[in-house]
Amino acid sequence: MNSIQTAIALLTLVHKEIKRFTRIWPQTLLPPSITMTMYFIIFGNLIGPRIGEMDGFSYMDFIVPGLIMMAVITNSYSNVASSFFSNKFQRSIEEMMVSPMPNWVILAGFVFGGMARGLGVGLIVTIVSLFFTRISVAHPFLTVAVVVLTAALFSIGGFINALLGKKFDDISIVPTFILTPLTYLGGVFYSISLLPSFWQGVSMLNPILYMVNVFRYGFLGVSDIPVGWALAAIVTFIVVLFAIALWMLESGKGIRS
């Protein structure tokens, strides 16, 4: 394929992916918006004032970046996991396999689709948060960079999950038993400085902690961990997981007999 044909193929796949999740918006866009609104009301409005300040900010201001990031992570991941697995299940993945589209275009198409949903939901949550607090962004470029990279990372993760999955249960195990606990323990609702030193050390092993903290740093200018180190870790994870996903596609794992 020449570069124009490759671009057309990629845009076709991205367009198809975006059309998919917008067509079923009551399943994809509405639920996270309602859930996050509940978090803002219960934790931010009702419980927050009793908690007081966290790292020098009101509790509502503290949790907003974490909740946006949580929505981005879960939606990026689940979009690609369910869409790609559904393509596998219905065998419509064969439409792509018989075409001359390079494997990296297939991977990138699904990843961009997942990022579109993750970032779209993130934007919705951000808009909802404006009803509860005033948002100021200390480092706009860093904020955008972190949220985009995180969406990419978890989209790739969802892709690998779908490639390995053999039944629909397999694509809900990781979000339910790994992603959600790590997100809750990733400093969305608290600063790890509140934890005893042992649990602070344990928390440092949680990759989501770095993403939430860097994103919060972008908004508030405060972070529990070094920002540069966290950014490097995210980029490294993206490169490694993309390479693994591409290798799996090239070798036909989960899609070719």
């Binding site: 193929a9 076709t12 796949l13 065998r91 439409e95 018989v98 001359p100 036909g252 007999s257």
Partner: protein, 320 residues
């Protein structure tokens, strides 16, 4: 001389469970041909086509499409191929028009180029009125036609059809045959089809390969194959039931039921002799027809022969 549309050498496939699906097959399909691959279920037809279309990974062997080795440049080879698989393999929740346009996009066709092409194909295949409907709302025959339209979007020179008319009613099947004949004749598209309807292969195809147990047991022209047919079986409907099977010299006669006989007629024998012998016994025939289509008869004989040889070989192995 033009490169074959499809050339296969020593193609072997061993699945993870140890099943030897293909045992080193060789096959050439010339450009412009209408070619049938026949074989019982599990013979290796779909595995062969799956490897050609990159849905199945080969264990060994070479495959070239219009001279392009798929191990060297599969992407280039794929431009020349359109694939209609056995199972429905599109997203049932998408609109018909989106399915065909997306396929064009995957082949790098711009939307401006793809839209008129989609309209023409969907009109030709009687799906234009359904273009904005969900694919799951289509009937089985329409879904098959949708897969044909999708496969033709990028103007392939080789169309691979894996049981394209399975589950399609007779009227629709014949209209699909006509369409396939047209694109083969007018556009020069090489067509390879697998089918269980041997009437389909006899009616459409010029050349045929018969696969059994992962090996090609015959690869010849349909006409040549039919010329080899030694025996045809005729069913004779009788005016009145008979209690015994009439013995006719030189013919094998079987009673199907009280008022129907099956008579095997070998090459060189005359049906007139059968009618004379029956008239002498005061047995009147009111109608007559072939037991099955001719290719089917030959196919069944070959496959049964192959199965017997395999069973014999296995018995020999277990004895040694």
């Amino acid at each position: 001389m033009a490169e074959p549309a499809l050339s296969i050498r020593g193609l072997t496939k061993v699945y993870g469970n140890g099943f030897h699906a293909l045992k080193g097959i060789d096959l050439d399909v010339e450009q412009g041909d209408f070619f049938a691959m026949l074989g019982p279920n599990g013979a290796g037809k779909s595995t062969t086509l799956g490897i050609v279309c990159s849905l199945v990974q080969k264990s060994a062997g070479k495959v070239s499409i219009f001279g392009i080795d798929i191990d060297r440049d599969f992407a280039k080879a794929k431009y020349h191929m359109g694939v209609v698989p056995q199972e429905f393999n599109f997203n049932q929740f998408e609109q018909v028009i989106d399915i065909v346009l997306a396929q064009a996009g995957y082949f790098g066709m711009s939307r401006r180029e793809a839209l008129p092409r989609a309209e023409r194909l969907l009109r030709d295949l009687g799906l234009w009125d359904k273009r904005n409907g969900n694919a799951r709302m289509l009937s089985g025959g329409m879904k098959r036609r949708l897969m044909i339209a999708r496969a033709l979007m990028h103007r392939p020179k080789l169309l691979i059809l894996d049981e394209p008319t399975a589950g399609v009613d007779i009227e629709l099947r014949r209209s699909m045959w006509e369409y396939m004949r047209r694109i083969n004749r007018e556009e020069g598209t090489t067509i390879i089809l697998t089918t269980h309807y041997l009437e389909e292969a006899e009616s459409l195809c010029r050349n045929v390969a018969i696969i059994n147990h992962g090996e090609i047991i015959r690869n010849t022209s349909v006409r040549g194959l039919l010329a080899e047919l030694d025996t045809e079986t005729f069913l004779l409907d009788l005016a009145h039931p008979v209690s015994d099977v009439p013995a006719i010299d030189g013919f094998e006669v079987r009673q199907v039921d009280a008022a129907q006989l099956a008579v095997a007629v070998h090459r060189g024998q005359r049906l007139n002799d059968v009618f004379t012998a029956l008239s002498e016994r005061d047995i009147q025939v009111v109608s007559m027809r072939n037991r099955a289509n001719r290719l089917e008869e030959m196919f069944v004989t070959m496959v049964e022969q192959g199965n017997e040889e395999k069973a014999e070989a296995e018995r020999g192995e277990s004895r040694s």
